[in-house]
Symmetry: C2
Subunit: 432 residues, 2 copies
């Protein structure tokens, strides 16, 4: 008889918080993830806009648990779970037994069943997507600088961002800032103001998770910085050269010529379980009980789990995931029986809109503008894992703020990426 | 009548030095490169061993020439030159006229006509190769940690480096250091010393461009750090799981199981000209006269050009390329007629072998060990372009030195890369 074997699948905010809270406990913990690093997703848009480097916001799991006696990491993709035999199958066929299982597999881009959107847009969920987006946007500028035809040039300089949640708002604000910095300066061929960022949101307001006033403030701020914000509008169609926008009311569809469409409009739970194996909520997240149990010995936390908070399920955000992870760790430490139902403590939500402007909401308090921005800076630096990352991120932000410059502007793209290849027909950077 | 139009093809050390020396001159300069950044290739092996990030050693051309009145950049691949009409053709078909042309297109990996080597090895010439190599090596460790079979595990932990020039010496030293840092610590599943770096060189000594004593010192130092140095040995065959080594004497071939073969054994000139258009040296570099002219109005410099130094052609290194670039710029500034033949001033050569050890050679002086290493550090920091890069590189080196740690250890690989896909059969990081 060995010690209790806990397997955590997924090292996002929930899985990592659970594994850290179990570090030193009297159980053996195996953390599985398809990638070898934890990603600080709230700053992903800064990687996508060439302000930060990948290593600034990612931290290898093996480094996190280097000094742990009982937590081990393994890079693996889980393809199935046999709940009765209590074991997982990973890609390659190997089986991994568990006594207690924590499913924290997170979420993935969801396209409402529209494969064209999946193919023609670039997502913002993972580091490779952010790098692809960054290389793509910089390539579009190089391309536009060479195009004489005004209509085609405008296509290369038009960037459509779909989805007005925190990711879409933060990315479109940062992209407008980046374009303002480089057009006319690094690209003397391109007039300042000749590029266009269009933010498209289906609802009648931005930042649906925030108070309505903060959503309106975000829209006003983005517009004052040149972002074309279109509310109550859906993207009906995406082609290689255009996005077709359809107002949700009775307006007529508009076709916008654009070579770049960024997808931040929808994510769905991402798990390896078959449809009929487990109960799911309407949003297709795994339906857990009030103690986060999917079934005996199996917990689900974070984006993949539907946790009832009294007024509907908790949003797909890092604070609930981390609290759920720590709650499950406490339950495992105490021998398997959670003492009390899980209760989420809302410590607030925030989003930045760009230079010196952000919105934050803590209970009844609302911050915006410069104060919100400072709050945002401190909180994000605090939660960034690892001293080195914090120091470099702070230095990059300081440079960006003081010099109004963005030092990292390389196009290092894989010549094997079909999206880049299809969007840039004569690939100038392909190796000979 | 406009001003004289100078087109420089290639922004490596030669092309960049030429463009910078023409900044402010009474000519219009257009710099073309297939990539949008200058790469500080001497530190590429540090990116490949996860010590530096890509942006630390790469600098966008547009940033370099942001304040220039007469130097412009354009990302383009030149596919041909019409010398009589004085114009270039770029990928996509467009034609670019010139009055004076500077060919500085550099060199590319050369495999002595063996396509198997090209396919089965990973090069070290470009940033994308260095990133691929880094992701590949880290993936091999993750993979080895999961393999029970000792023979297969050894394959994943064996790294064959082909070529004992500066790149091969520096990379194998840095790789041995990286493996020493992470085995047993980040990877408790892998015993310290269970990985193996094999450096294979066809000649009977390392660092052929240096004094024989420094080559011997490099071999001794690498061996003392655990690198298996094999001199007078060629790689005859490369498969997905092995390298076949053939001694150049009458010894028997040896097959070494390895999933990683790094190619630094040969480069050749890389230019878009047809074989019969221009005179070439035996090494296939463009044969220029003693004033670096390929023909009237056309200069060739750097790796692509064969420049006679009295005792054979100058080596493919950055110092000759930079001096040639500045020489050509002076000739152009003075109205097109170089006053005196080009003369190379040898300021020395250096290579690092790892922590606190390097070799350097300046005329009759030879340095090695710690003094060589300090010299190496200062010279490389001095030549790194841009203040931010220098500061970050210095910080990374300090961290590495003080903590014996390597903070950047992410596997961010493109799921479209066929090399990675073929070497790692069940790709654990592929997106769903």
């Amino acid at each position: 008889m060995g010690r209790e074997r806990v397997v955590i699948v997924g090292g996002g905010f929930g899985g990592l918080a659970c594994a850290r809270a179990l570090d030193g406990a009297d159980v053996d913990v195996l953390l599985l993830d398809t990638r070898n690093y934890h990603l600080f997703t709230p700053l992903l848009y800064q990687v996508a806009t060439a302000l930060l480097d990948p290593s600034d916001i990612a931290y290898p799991f093996r480094t996190v648990f280097r000094r742990s006696r009982n937590v081990r990491f393994r890079q693996a993709r889980v393809t199935g779970v046999d709940f009765d035999a209590r074991r997982l199958t990973v890609a390659g066929g190997e089986q991994i037994p568990y006594d207690t299982l924590v499913l924290a597999t997170g979420s993935a881009n969801a396209y409402f069943g529209n494969p064209e959107l999946a193919e023609r847009t670039i997502g913002m969920k993972h580091l490779d997507e952010a790098m692809r987006l960054r290389n793509h946007v910089l390539s579009c500028l190089e391309r536009a600088a060479q195009i004489a035809d005004p209509a085609e040039r405008a296509e290369w300089l038009t960037f459509v961002v779909v989805g007005g949640g925190p990711t879409g708002v933060e990315y479109s604000g940062a992209l407008a800032e980046l374009l303002g910095m480089v057009l006319g300066r690094d690209f003397p061929e391109l007039a300042p103001g000749s590029a266009r960022v269009v933010l498209v949101e289906g609802a009648d307001r931005l930042l649906g998770a925030f108070h309505r006033k903060l959503g309106a403030y975000a829209a006003d701020t983005l517009r004052s910085r040149g972002v074309d914000v279109r509310l109550s509008t859906l993207v009906g169609q995406a082609t290689a050269t255009a996005a077709v926008l359809s107002p949700t009311g009775d307006g007529e569809s508009v076709t916008i010529g654009a070579r770049t469409i960024v997808w931040s409009a929808g994510v769905g739970p991402d798990d390896p379980l078959h449809a009929d194996e487990v109960p799911r909520s309407r949003s297709r997240r795994l339906q857990v009980d009030d103690r986060l149990r999917l079934r005996p010995g199996v917990y689900a936390i974070g984006d993949v789990a539907s946790v009832d908070s009294g007024g509907g399920e908790l949003p797909m955000l890092s604070p609930p995931a981390m609290q759920e992870g720590r709650y499950v760790a406490r339950a495992i430490r105490s021998g398997g029986e959670p003492a009390a139902p899980f209760r989420y403590l809302d410590k607030g939500t925030m989003a930045t809109i760009g230079r010196r402007s952000a919105v934050a909401q803590v209970g009844p308090l609302r911050f915006r503008g410069f104060l919100g921005w400072i709050t945002w800076l401190v909180v994000h630096l605090y939660y960034l894992i690892g001293f080195r990352n914090r120091a470099i991120v702070l230095a990059s932000w300081g440079w960006d703020y003081a010099r109004r410059d963005r030092p990292i502007r390389l196009i290092v793209r894989s010549r094997f990426d079909p999206v880049v290849a299809s969007l840039i027909p004569d690939d100038v950077s392909a190796a000979p």
